[in-house]
């Protein structure tokens, strides 16, 4: 939809590609995300009640029946949708679309209606049910570039916006354009099989935009027309039929 907001858009549009054919389900991305973004640990009891926070999760799905079963992994993080259902429902603009295509969350504006979390079809928005606590000495490893979130506030994957801003400021100071792959969010940086690729979708030469145009490309819950900026790459369907495209790789 062309709209009056076009003048706000920049030549940068951040996006990510998740190559499901490469993902081994090691969850290194999950750990990296938690360390980078000061994600609090909920504790055993609270996690059992569904209060654990993990901006990035690796979903496991089994195909077939034992002993013919095989497991497939799908890292799910905020899809940074262009037509994000979470954004218009927020009464205070805590959730809004920033000019670089990020689905931004402004913690200070959030009053905790949790409407965005209900509207999100991917269930990748997280709520602080209590004030976060880090048992000593874990508080020493908090990332000074990322604010911690108080009780009653929603949070979610930011594409490591602190790294984006740092790199942009650096590039501006050196009076140059950002280079493709100059920096990466923590999950992308950590991924051993390079299943995650991050970059500028508006640059047709960037690795991420080339991959996003690949014939393996698909989006999660595409039927909802949320127009995600995260693209999944996979060969064929997940139907799991023997000899089908899913097992061809």
């Amino acid at each position: 939809m062309k709209s009056e907001i076009d003048h706000l858009e920049s030549k940068i549009h951040w996006g990510m590609v998740v190559d499901l054919d490469r993902c081994t389900g090691c969850e290194a991305c999950v750990v990296a995300c938690r360390a980078e973004n000061n994600v609090p640990t909920a504790g055993e009891d609270q996690a059992a009640r569904g209060r654990a926070i993990h901006w990035l999760r690796v979903e496991r799905y089994w195909e077939g029946e034992f002993p013919e079963a095989r497991v497939r992994f799908r890292p799910v993080l905020c899809q940074q949708c262009e037509a994000a259902p979470c954004e218009p429902v927020c009464p205070t603009f805590a959730s809004y679309h920033n000019p670089e295509g990020l689905n931004a969350q402004v913690y200070n504006r959030c009053i905790g209606t949790r409407y965005c979390a209900n509207a999100c079809p991917y269930t990748v928005r997280f709520f602080n049910f209590y004030n976060p606590v880090w048992d000593k000495p874990l508080h020493l490893q908090l990332n000074p570039d990322v604010s911690v979130r108080e009780v009653g506030v929603m949070e979610k994957c930011t594409f490591c916006v602190q790294r984006i801003k740092a790199a942009e400021i650096q590039a501006k100071a050196e009076k140059r354009e950002l280079k493709d792959g100059e920096f990466n969010p923590a999950c992308v940086q950590t991924c051993p099989p390079k299943a995650l690729i991050f970059g500028n979708l508006n640059d047709p030469e960037s690795e991420v935009s080339k991959l996003a145009r690949s014939n393996r490309a698909t989006v999660l819950l595409g039927e909802l027309n949320t127009r995600p900026n995260v693209t999944y790459l996979e060969r064929g369907s997940w139907s799991g039929e023997e000899g089908g495209p899913a097992s061809a790789g």
Binding site: E4, I5, A83, A84
Partner: protein, 173 residues
């Protein structure tokens, strides 16, 4: 000194109507005739006095104005600090329409309330004429600003119409 007001108390609307007619016959101007009752009597001519009002049109006008102002307010604030959400236009007509609708209704409600409070006040010089017996179902009919030479005639007219009692209140009494 003139007698300020004369009034009679009536047991039923028929006698009250007779009293009103008698006052009119006696030459009391319509704005000086005072009627007070504990019920509305729409089915009698005296109960339909003063029933003309612009209140419905004021409510419509206020609704239109409030809706217009509401829409302008919403559209202006959206443009003043443009934040895109969900791929929607900055001034999104459908959601703004919902708010405009509610403000139309609020405008009509408030205008009705204010018009009622302002226009239900009694004309000057008549608002002190009251008797507590009205609360028990009597109907008060009287005349304000009665000159001394007329008072006897008016008192008689009120009494002939069937009043329980006729009272003349003196200034400062």
């Amino acid at each position: 000194m003139n007698k300020d007001a004369v009034y009679g108390l009536y047991p039923n609307p028929e006698s009250a109507q007779r009293a009103v007619d008698a006052l009119e016959e006696a030459g009391v101007p319509e704005r000086d005739i005072v009627i007070v009752s504990a019920e509305p009597f729409e089915d009698y001519p005296f109960g339909r006095r003063d029933h003309r009002t612009l209140m419905p049109w004021i409510a419509v006008l206020a609704g239109v104005l409030a809706g217009l102002m509401g829409f302008l307010f919403v559209a202006f604030t959206q443009r003043a600090y443009p934040l895109p959400t969900g791929g929607m236009p900055i001034v999104s007509p459908w959601p703004d329409g919902v708010i405009t609708y509610e403000l139309i209704m609020l405008g009509a409600i408030l205008a009705t309330l204010i018009t009622l409070v302002v226009t239900a006040r009694s004309p000057e010089g008549t608002s002190h004429i009251y008797a507590t017996e009205v609360a028990q179902g009597k109907i008060l009919v009287g005349a304000a600003k009665v000159r001394a030479e007329n008072s006897a005639k008016i008192e008689a007219a009120l009494r002939n119409a069937g009043a329980f009692s006729v009272v003349g209140s003196k200034p400062g009494a």
